[in-house]
């Protein structure tokens, strides 16, 4: 089987998406961290 279907044209935009995903996660974690430091007794 050939699992490499439509790899090449999609790869750059997917890499861009990966960066976006990890950026969103970091922002989410920072927001949770702010929530903790602001309110945690």
């Amino acid at each position: 089987m050939d699992p490499t279907e439509t790899e090449t044209p999609e790869a750059p935009s997917f890499r861009h998406t990966l960066v976006r995903v990890m950026t969103v996660q970091v922002v989410t974690l920072i927001l949770l961290w702010v929530l903790q430091t602001r309110y945690n007794g």
Partner: protein, 555 residues
């Protein structure tokens, strides 16, 4: 519950079934029944992936956990975005490109038939049983809250789900998931809005009260293997668990195999990567706000109404005395909570908080006494975390929204069960019936067998759910056994991507991985289950690579 709420619940159930049956039209072959002819858009698949993972346990158990334990459970999902990214570049193109029906089918092409059959069998055993527990969890709660017989509760959720899954196949499952996901989010957001409106303090003050009790302590950076929810177990163990679940569990793999293309399948998984942690935080926040709300509105002493009724009947005077003490302790705590809310930033804040925590401890002590009494009277586990939110919903939410929430709980259960039934049927028919018993037959024949297989697993789930109380220890054993091979199956799929790895390495590596997890489980029982997946996957990889190179090839 008010008749309008019942109309919402029944109307929703009827709509899902009718829509599911409508979508069955035109499905004449198993490619359409199991994979929707690989034609679904990424956003529908993405919502289906999220709906499958979000079960009724999330709606009533995780929200309850938020009320009692706070936000730290969200750490469990910290590895999910990374896992989705890894899957997007590894297993998704492999499985989608291989044009398989099941993830295990791919293992035969890569290794051999016995590796495929073993992994598929393990999936059928664990998911078949877990499908019953997913159905049992809300059914047991509904049974206690509404006073129904457990069988009727199981039937209310189970029968409509089996009907639309059996008739409509994956098309019905996916499009029902889309609607169910929307319903769930609307119900959760509606609850947050109502809580904030009804709360006698501002949102900022409410969060200060929650924070004072440690419920907003989200991050735990201690590196301990015996603590389940830490930052490190979430990032490392969680990544392996999510890789296993989304990459090798047929109930999830089948969702993205229905996508139009590899990029669409990837995008569907990335939806979870973006939204799962915020959604889980929202779920826990609902519980936290309910906890704060109950600082100003007297909560029941026991949340499980069935237990409460039994205790009142058997040990009435003693329970009433406890209730009186509870009322006094609640009043004192309410005063302390208001003082904490009024002075969150002042110099008196620390002193007010100390008083509040002392009053909170008094309330919890009396609650513990009541729970002990409930355990002694009923002979059952007195733990009532799963009843906190349903009791709140039925007594405090406005008419309409409580019906929406109950429909949301049923929707969450149905979406998970439907996806599992559909995938159990797929594995049964493709990996066993067609592979070993009847390789050649018409599509109409396989379609008919697939529908009967769905019905069989639906019946199996319903029977397990109705026997949940008596099968409790058996289900626990099965779930524990399930953790033995979850990471190990991931290891086999990872091994498949290693060049020159062979069937002998995959099969015996899988057995070695399960043995290693069993050894950790029994030899060091304090190690949290999140780490089991890491041990299993890495053992399979190590043993598989070595055996593939050391054992000579036949012929």
């Amino acid at each position: 519950m008010h008749p309008i709420n019942w109309i919402i619940v029944v109307g929703y159930l009827v709509y899902v079934v009718v829509d599911g049956v409508r979508r069955s039209k035109g499905t004449t072959e198993i490619e359409g029944y199991f994979l929707a002819n690989r034609s679904l858009p990424w956003w529908a698949v993405g919502l289906s992936v999220m709906a499958t993972q979000l079960s009724a346990v999330t709606m009533i158990g995780t929200t309850g956990q938020g009320a009692t334990d706070g936000m730290r459970f969200v750490q469990f999902y910290f590895g999910l975005p990374l896992a989705m990214v890894i899957l997007g570049v590894t297993l998704v193109p492999f499985l989608h490109g291989a044009k398989v029906f099941t993830a295990y089918e791919y293992l035969e092409r890569r290794f051999d038939a016995k590796t495929r059959s073993l992994t598929s069998f393990l999936f059928l055993m664990s998911r078949g049983m877990s499908c019953g527990t997913i159905l049992a969890a809300p059914a047991v709660v509904f049974s206690a809250v509404f006073g129904w017989d457990l069988t009727w509760s199981v039937a209310l959720i189970g029968i409509p789900t089996v009907i639309y899954t059996m008739i409509g196949g994956v098309q019905a499952v996916t499009w029902a998931d889309v609607k169910q996901m929307v319903l769930i989010v609307v119900a959760l957001v509606g609850m947050v809005v109502v809580l904030l409106v009804k709360m006698p303090v501002s949102p900022d003050e409410a969060l200060h009260i929650a924070g004072a009790t440690g419920r907003l302590k989200i991050f735990d950076f201690n590196f301990t293997l015996n603590e389940t929810y830490t930052f490190w177990s979430g990032i490392l163990g969680g990544t392996f668990l999510m890789l296993s679940y989304f990459g090798t569990d047929q109930s999830q793999v089948q969702r993205y195999l229905t996508a139009k293309s590899v990029p669409e399948a990837r995008s569907s998984l990335l939806m979870s990567a973006y939204w799962k942690i915020p959604l889980q935080a929202l779920v826990l926040l609902v519980g936290i706000l309910v906890f704060v709300y109950y600082q100003f509105q007297a909560p029941p002493l026991l949340y499980n109404p069935a237990h409460e009724a039994q205790v009142q009947e058997v040990r009435g005077p003693e329970y009433r005395e406890l209730q009186a003490r509870y009322g006094q302790a609640f009043a004192a705590r309410e005063v302390a909570a208001r003082a904490t809310a009024d002075a969150p930033e002042s110099a008196a804040a620390a002193a007010a908080m100390d008083v509040f925590l002392a009053r909170e401890a008094d309330v919890e002590t009396i609650r513990d006494e009541a729970l002990t009494m409930a355990g002694e009277v009923t002979g059952e586990s007195p733990r009532d975390v799963n009843y906190i939110i349903p009791r709140f919903v039925l007594s405090e939410l406005p008419i309409g929204l409580s019906g929406l929430f109950i429909a949301g709980v049923i929707a969450a259960a149905m979406s998970s069960i439907a996806a599992e039934l559909n995938s159990l049927s797929t594995a049964t028919v493709i990996d066993f019936y067609r592979r070993w018993y009847k390789p050649v037959a018409s599509d109409a024949h396989f379609l008919s067998v697939s529908k009967w297989a769905t019905g069989f697993w639906g019946l199996f789930a319903c029977v397990v759910a109705t026997q949940a109380a008596t099968l409790g220890s058996l289900i626990e054993v099965v779930n524990r056994f399930g953790s033995f091979f979850y990471g190990s199956i991931l290891g086999v799929f990872l091994l498949a991507m290693v060049p020159r790895s062979r069937a002998v390495g995959a099969f015996f590596g899988l057995l070695a991985g399960m043995a290693a997890v069993a050894a950790v489980n029994f030899g060091a029982p304090q190690v949290s289950f999140l780490w089991h997946n890491v041990v299993g996957a890495l053992t399979v990889l190590a043993v598989g690579v070595v055996l593939s190179r050391v054992v000579p090839e036949k012929g």
